[in-house]
Symmetry: C2
Subunit: 195 residues, 2 copies
């Protein structure tokens, strides 16, 4: 295969994607929020991002109506960022961006998030992780038990990109629904309904 | 019926309850958190309180490791405070304390919390409200659709205490599991499993 003169065909493709105005500058979290809003507006699913956990230490009341928090600290989250309900099933997932093109560092997911995903799966949840390789602009859906099994047995500090290609499902980008993970869930869990 | 000399038999009973050291000073939220912790530790259910939603405006980094939030504001919650999974079912509820002995003010529940509870119920959730009449020290489980139907049709600004006695289920206080709402859910949704 012949590369472009600068030998960077992939980079060229990326640049085109990045200049797509509708897509530019949107990060995974805001895109998932947009998809959740889309699902909500069409009454397909009720899935929300949980607020960022903070420990509030000091609150001022400069006006009667508006309390102002003047001292607070970020807490390590004890659960995942997203949960809700879809077709009667409890949905629970975590989303992570990864700038490396070759592997995803395991330390990006907190150990209690892993424990949480494992536990909810055992209790009957649809439990998964969304990982975006930002440089490649590819977003994968990965069943959490499959990922956790790999993490627990691989004896490595990162999961190779190729593993996601083999074990994950690429999530399609759509204009109004940028991270359409429910269509992956439909394929995996509700196939009969689609026929 | 003859009252005590000061005519305040009820108050007397309350005082006794309040001097129960194990119970004293605990509020509904912390008791529910304790129950959730109890369910979690016995691997019965995975139900968490969501963090308080805040808008973070300013963050300082006095040390490399510790970010300090120096300006933030409380946001109106768009969902309920608690959700999770129990026996494969999605659980979603809101908890409120009420100091009046005679009625619960409807305005205590935000309109979008009501909309949220209604919506998740429609999607198959076990959706309910826990209301504690603090002065009476009685805690009720109320199916959210039943409460919402009353709120939408009653043409009143509050729900009478007697309505809760008739339509709610009293939640038992237990020492290690102070708000045992899952035993109410077992009765309502998983009766066959208990026999």
């Amino acid at each position: 295969m012949i590369n472009y003169p600068n030998g960077k065909k992939k980079t060229f493709t990326k640049t085109i994607q990045k200049t797509d105005a509708s897509h530019r500058g949107m990060e995974l979290e805001s895109e998932i929020n947009q998809s959740n809003q889309y699902y909500l507006s069409y009454d397909c699913a009720i899935i929300h991002k949980k607020p960022t956990p903070v420990t509030i230490v000091k609150v001022d009341y400069p006006m009667r109506t508006a309390a102002k928090i003047t001292e607070a600290y970020f807490k390590v989250p004890s659960t995942t960022d997203y949960n809700g309900i879809y077709k009667g099933r409890y949905i629970d997932f975590e989303a992570k961006e990864c700038s490396s093109k070759t592997s995803f560092p395991i330390k990006s997911i907190h150990p209690h998030q892993i424990a949480h995903l494992k536990s909810v799966a055992k209790h009957g949840a649809i439990s998964f992780v969304i990982i975006r390789f930002t440089t490649l602009n590819e977003t994968y859906y990965i069943d959490s038990l499959r990922l956790i099994h790999y993490i627990e047995t691989c004896n490595r500090s990162s999961v190779p990109y190729t593993w996601f290609k083999e074990n994950g499902i690429l999530i399609q980008y759509r204009y109004q629904n940028p991270v359409d993970y429910l269509s992956v869930i439909d394929q995996l869990y509700f196939k009969e309904n689609n026929k």
